[in-house]
Symmetry: C3
Subunit: 166 residues, 3 copies
Amino acid sequence: MENKEPEPANLPDGKTFLLFSDDMDKAFATFVIANGAAAMDSPVTIFFAFWGLNVIRKQTSSKGKDLLSKMFGFMMPTGPDQLKLSRMNMLGMGSWMMKLVMRRKNVQALPELIASAREQGVRFIACSMSMDVMGIRKDELMDGVEIGGVVTFLSAAEQSNVSLFI
Amino acid sequence: MENKEPEPANLPDGKTFLLFSDDMDKAFATFVIANGAAAMDSPVTIFFAFWGLNVIRKQTSSKGKDLLSKMFGFMMPTGPDQLKLSRMNMLGMGSWMMKLVMRRKNVQALPELIASAREQGVRFIACSMSMDVMGIRKDELMDGVEIGGVVTFLSAAEQSNVSLFI
Amino acid sequence: MENKEPEPANLPDGKTFLLFSDDMDKAFATFVIANGAAAMDSPVTIFFAFWGLNVIRKQTSSKGKDLLSKMFGFMMPTGPDQLKLSRMNMLGMGSWMMKLVMRRKNVQALPELIASAREQGVRFIACSMSMDVMGIRKDELMDGVEIGGVVTFLSAAEQSNVSLFI
C-alpha cells in the first residue's frame, strides 16, 4: 500500500512574489528567483505594490495630476535604473558600485532580468489600490502589465507553493 | 481514473501574516490582504512580533517598568495613528500625505482596517518573547489580543497555504 | 466516505527561510522560528543571501580581493555580534540595549541561537551569486555552510509548507 500515489499533480506549484519594496537589491533578488522558477516551469506571478510599483515605472508624467500625486511621482525612482540599495547606498555610490561589480562578474543587471522575466511569461500585476494612492496611472508603467487587487494576489498565491513578501 | 478526486479540502487554506514591522505602509498592506482573505472565508491569523507590536499598542504606561523598558516604550510609536512610512517619511510629512491621499480617495485608513479585521474574526496574536524583550505588557495592547509564541505561529502557518513575513 | 484518508504525509512539511537582511532583530527572529520548527521535527533550511551573508561571516580577510570587494567587506558587519537593529539603532545604543535586555530576561542571544540551529541539523546555505557580487569567499563564512543558488533555494522551498523572505 506504500505505492498508492503521491499525486503531487494535485498540489499547486506556482510561485508568487509580492514586491513591496523598490530597493535595488530586493528587486534584483525577486527577479533572480522569479526567473529561476520560470525556468523550472512554475507559473510565476509578481505583484507590484506600493514602492514596488517604482520598479516597473517607465517615466514620470505629472500632466493632469493633483499636487500630492505630483509630489509622490517626483520624489520616487522611475524604473529599474534609478533604484537604490536597501543599505550602504551612500548617496548612490553603493548602488553604482553594485552595478559595476555585477557587470564585472557578468551577472545580469536588473533591466535584463526584467526583460528575461517577460520573455519567460512571468505575470506582472500592478496593485490597483497602490496606484490609486500613489497617483500612478497605467500609462506610466511598463507595457503589458496587468492591473489587479488583493483578490488577484490571493488567487495567485493560493495556486502557489511558494509565496514571498519582499 | 482521471477524475479520481482533487480533494482540495484536505489542503490547508489559512493565511498567516507575521507582522514584524511598524511601518505604516507595511501594516496597511498586511491588513488589506488579511481583510481580503477573511472576506474570501480563509481563516486568517496575524502574528505581531517585535516592532509589529507597536501597531496594536493602545498607550504607553511606564508605571512599574524598569529603565530599559521605559526607554523602549517611550521611543516607539503607540498604535496605528503614530506609525511612519518605511521611506519618504520626511519627519512625518510623508505619512501625513499618505493619510490625506487615502482619505481623498476613500481608501480605508489603518484604524478602520484593524477594526474590520477584528469584526471578520481575524486572529490577533502578540509574540510573547517580543513582549518580554521590549517590556510591553498585555494591558498595553488592544483588547482581545491573544498571546503566543513560536509554536503558535508555526501551527497557524502550517494550517495556511499563504504565510508572509512582513 | 468521510474518513477516506487525510494523507498529510504527502504534503511537504519543511520550513525555508531566505534571510536577506543583516538586521540583528530580523536575524534573531529567523533563528527563533527556525529553532522552533526544528524542535517540531520539520526539516529546516536557511538560505543566506545578500546582507544576510553577514550573519554567518566569521571575519574579514581582504587578502587577494579587488578594491570593490575590499570596500564591501570593510563596511559590512562580520558575524552575529556586529549586527545592528533595523530601527532605533542609535549608533549602536539600540542593539546594545537589546542585547542587555535579552541577557537580563534570559533570552538566548544570536550566537547561541545559531549554535543551537546547527546542533538541531538546520541546513545553512549561502547564496553563491550574492557571494560573488559581494566578494565573499567560502573561507570567510562559518564552517559547514553549504553553497547554493536559486535552484537550491527553490527546491527547499518547494519541500516546505512555510517559506519566508526575511
